[in-house]
Amino acid sequence: MLPIFCINKILINDNNMNNYVISIASGKGGTGKTTVAVNFALSLNNVQFLDCDVEEPNANLFLKAAISKTIDALISVPKIDENLCNYCGKCQEVCQYKSLAIIPSSNNSKGIVLTFPHLCHSCGACVYICPKTAIEEVDKKIGEIEIGNRGDILFASGKLSIGEIMSPYLIKQVKKNINKSRNVIIDAPPGTSCPVIETVKHTDFCVLVTEPTPFGLNDLILAVDVLKKLKIPFGVVINRSDIWNNMINMYCNEENIPILMEIPFDMGIARLYSNGIPFVEKMPHYKQEFIRMFEQIKRILE
């Protein structure tokens, strides 16, 4: 006779055990993240697609989702009331990001407060520390989030405003739209720094897209290091898999990294891409490949 808590577990797991949040990252840029993310999403059922490459979101060039809503993405930055401020400089001392400069008063001139909002990380330390409560938090727009759909596929995309540098804050807000009743595919930015970490963090699995070139391998190794530190399970897709040699396969075999899919170089895919057409629409046999990849990912996770 099973204890009561085991019976509950079996019943609850039944509906949501098949939904996963999968991020698509790379290391080296230009390997085919967006191509893989888009075509993967189009091959599955019950999907939500998030474009977190907020500095250059391009997935919708291919998905062509209809946008139903655009939301301003805001962060809090300090505003100092110079009627209350005595230019003591405590806010500037506590700021870890140097986004405040206080020019002290002198005999013949009043002090000046300079803020550099683009460096501000919205931590709130300056507000907290001010002995004159002269600092309030005001909203600053850093970008936009577009929400829409392409048929049954839910879509959300972040677009960082020109001149802004705080990608991770916008990415965090895009990810707030994650719908757990769907399989969520997230297109990450290239590289391995803060924006990528913010994107792949807390996802169930990360697909690393690479190519068999020296840079492809070098940056794949960096990305693998990041995912291991974040303890996120991952696998590799080799794009343009036949353009050089088997350096990626050898590395993956040595490190026991699952190779989820290999896409040989194909002028046909390149032509479709350059016309903004996802290749699974014209090469439907690839849909089977992506479904097989999804099954492999599920097996790894279960």
Partner: protein, 110 residues
Amino acid sequence: MKICITSEGQTLDSNLDVRFGRCAYFIIFDIDTKNWEAVKNDNINLTGGAGIQSAQAVIAKGAKAVISGKMGENAYKTLKTAGIAIYLSSGGKIEEVLEQYKLNKLEQMI
């Protein structure tokens, strides 16, 4: 009056450091008394805002003018707001740059 020159080393014999925010040392030279000191720049390792911090250091030392090679807009804005004159030099030893300053031969950044 004190002026600040960004330097690669701690003596008047050292070369001008063309970077402002991440220079190795600030040489603070008093034109009137001829006294001077070399201050190590701790902002070199900041991930961001080094220009702003270095400008604050210059302001705190009471310098009324800065001589460097180039600086970014954050440092520029902070120094200008504090009313500090900014001069640019393409290089040379600190004592040579000082001579050029005295002879008004340095380009001023308006």
